[in-house]
Symmetry: C2
Subunit: 228 residues, 2 copies
DNA sequence: CACCGTATATTTACGACGTAATGTTGATCC
DNA sequence: GGATCAACATTACGTCGTAAATATACGGTG
């Protein structure tokens, strides 16, 4: 039940013997703490992030962390910001449609590769300036699509919410559980078959196509409102 | 810090004196437990749902609950199912568009009236048969819109994810916090004004219009794919 | 009526959690 | 070279979910 996950979390520094100030240049920084927390979450899920555990990874007792962060919440916020900053932002070149889709697929890529980190990043509220590159890129694309500002805002928010929800749903349904282990597809096609063959599709395991299809659906609506 | 919330949680039955089997007809049922848990969450948020606290409300020690549920997770799952069952399902009459919108607005209504319960219901995975009425109603409407089964599935999933994400975002942004208290609108219009006037809209406090606009955007795309 | 198994509760206890409060050390500055 | 202070350790508190052991009353069976 509590077996090691295979991913070994290296201690960054060997634990110190007694109390007192550490040797010169051996002091902890918020960056180190944040990155260690991110690695811990990446490997074993948010549930594995414990003050004691994080301290252990950093070669320090739990309470030492409170010199750099006011509480655990703040550490998680920092992790979320860091994760957000690591998401790709494609350049402002090409058709607006491909730009938007590139943005969305980039986000989904991170969701699939680092589901635990993604979940933390999406669950917490992140300061808007961390997301500013993405916002700017999206709005620029929607502007190039010929949308007036108000419609840009609606489009951005709609796409953003859809992408977020789909990715969270996908990593949840794929059984990437909160605490590291991964399970098989649950394939919830119980006896919905009588409702419609379509119902099967709703829970069917083709997330790639579903993601793109939903995205295209939204962008199609955009196209229409542009043409009017 | 620990002040009463104004909403008093009544004890359903007075606590018993000693151990042993309760008098006839005084035994707990899973329904009672589930409903009490829902009331607790409704009034004070998921964070207030504690085995001890729930037991207290039911006039019982915490461990007594383990006779009816294997663990706390199961109780939360039951609450989620109960909440899901309480969501309105409009009848299959009228234009498909108004039916879909009615469905969505009904869900959002519950989200705004019972944000804490809604969050629990949306956060946990609920057995598909509990959502079957909604699924059936939505698919029926999309079928009436002339969509083939595959497109019905895409439309359903897209709308579902959007509605869920918007409602969660809204109750989060409106400051209905996880543990009962409500804060003001944070109005995160820091210095994004330089990006575009549209950026302001993204975070602007008009959730009603935003919700409907996003929904219309998606349904507009649907209309197009129907006409082809 | 006496008896007993079973369902339901209480009691006690364990380990893990976040963190408040306090103690201890080494580096740095006047 | 003593005082200051930053960064750690230590101890402790209250809370959590829940495992294990125990006690009681009801429903059958003799």
């Amino acid at each position: 039940m509590n077996e090691p996950t295979g991913v070994t979390q290296k201690r960054i520094r060997t634990p110190r013997k007694g109390p007192g100030r550490p040797a010169a240049g051996e002091s902890l920084t918020p960056q180190e703490v944040t990155e260690a927390a991110l690695r811990l979450i990446l490997a074993e899920g948010e549930g594995a992030l414990t003050m004691r555990r994080l301290g252990e990874v950093l070669g320090v007792r739990a309470m030492a962390l409170y010199n750099h962060f006011p509480n655990k919440e703040a550490i998680l916020d920092a992790v979320a910001s860091l994760a957000f900053a690591s998401m790709p932002v494609p350049p402002d070149k090409g058709h607006w449609r491909t730009r938007i889709k590139g943005l969305c697929f980039g986000i989904r890529g991170m969701a699939l590769q680092q589901p635990n980190v993604f979940r933390v990043a999406m669950t917490r509220r992140v300061p808007p300036e961390k997301a500013l590159p993405h916002i700017a890129a999206a709005l620029s694309a929607f502007a190039d699509a010929g949308l007036p500002p108000a419609a840009q805002a609606v489009a951005y928010q709609t796409v953003r919410l859809y992408v977020r929800a789909h990715c969270l749903w996908e990593i949840e349904e794929l059984g990437v559980h909160r605490d590291g282990a991964s399970a098989g597809f649950t394939h919830a096609t119980t006896d919905l078959s009588k409702t419609a063959a379509a119902a099967k599709m709703v829970f069917a395991p083709d997330p790639d196509r579903q993601f793109e299809a939903g995205l295209d659906l939204i962008l199609r609506g955009l196209q229409v409102s542009k043409e009017r």
